[in-house]
Amino acid sequence: MFRWTVDSAARNAAPMPHDDHDHSVLPPDPALRVKALETILTEKGLIDPAALDAIIDTYQNKVGPQNGAAVVARAWTEPEFHAALMADATAAVSEMGFYGRQGEHLVAVENTGDVHNMVVCTLCSCYPWPLLGIPPAWYKSDAYRARAVREPRVVLSEFGVTLPDETKLRVWDSTAEVRYLVIPRRPDGTEGWSVDDLAAIISRDAMVGCGLVTVPA
């Protein structure tokens, strides 16, 4: 009987090269292992498959940088909210319906003319999920995790951000307990804009400190 050998090439090859068997496309090895864990835990009554689907739906479709952008735009336009956010970000964003699933604490760090803030998780990939969704691959890569601390200005330049030499750079290392949201600088020329119009120009990268908010040409 034909037996598919799972090697590193096969792991990355999806779908598998077609042979003359009319069978289903074999998922890569780790996908089969995840299915095995699900099967075992479901049989033990430890997981609810519907809950897994709901979590995936939440992070694929509902939670994303639009949440963080709504927070930032509000902070730019409502001085009271801005003060509350800087004093206790966890409480301020939960009032908007954004809660951390792991009970983590949120801290807002604000960019000014003097200071630019940037966020990393050097150990794994802690990230403010409720506000920004699932981190992009670059945030999870060894390259970013190591270099954001060692040579942050070089990393920023690769994102197209060049800061004046006199601007101080602060790099915040996230943990399982504390996550950071960067409040970028509001660009000139946006006076009188609505909160929604402002939110539309606030990017994920800007809220990690790897981008600036600019007015689209």
Binding site: L26, R33, A36, L52, L123
Partner: protein, 103 residues
């Protein structure tokens, strides 16, 4: 306007993420403990080469979850291998287009 990037590059990344979050929420382990363990795996894997934020990252995640579940006697490695192979057989013997199920 640019289309947003998908949250997960592969379906199994999403499944694995959801499984772990669900187990945390049901109280099987707390998140700081998970982050410690996962960080240690990433560190170990990252000694020999630079890991990417895609399959490398989630392979380390899977290894960590398998280890945590094994230690808690919830899924022993031999059982995981056996059921993984059963799933492979199910895929190999299910006609294309039909739902794949364990027999």
């Amino acid at each position: 306007m640019k289309r947003p990037e998908p949250a997960f590059a592969e379906p199994w990344h999403a499944q694995l993420f959801a499984l772990t979050v669900h187990l945390n929420e049901t109280g099987l382990f707390d998140w700081p403990h998970w982050a410690d363990r996962f960080s240690a795996t990433l560190k170990r894997h990252g000694v020999a080469r630079e890991l990417n934020g895609g399959d490398d990252y989630f392979n380390a995640w899977l290894e960590t979850l398998e280890a945590v579940l094994s230690e808690q006697s919830l899924a022993d490695p031999a059982q995981v291998d056996r059921i993984r192979n059963a799933w492979e057989q199910a895929y190999m013997t299910t006609p294309h287009g039909a739902p794949v199920r364990l027999i």
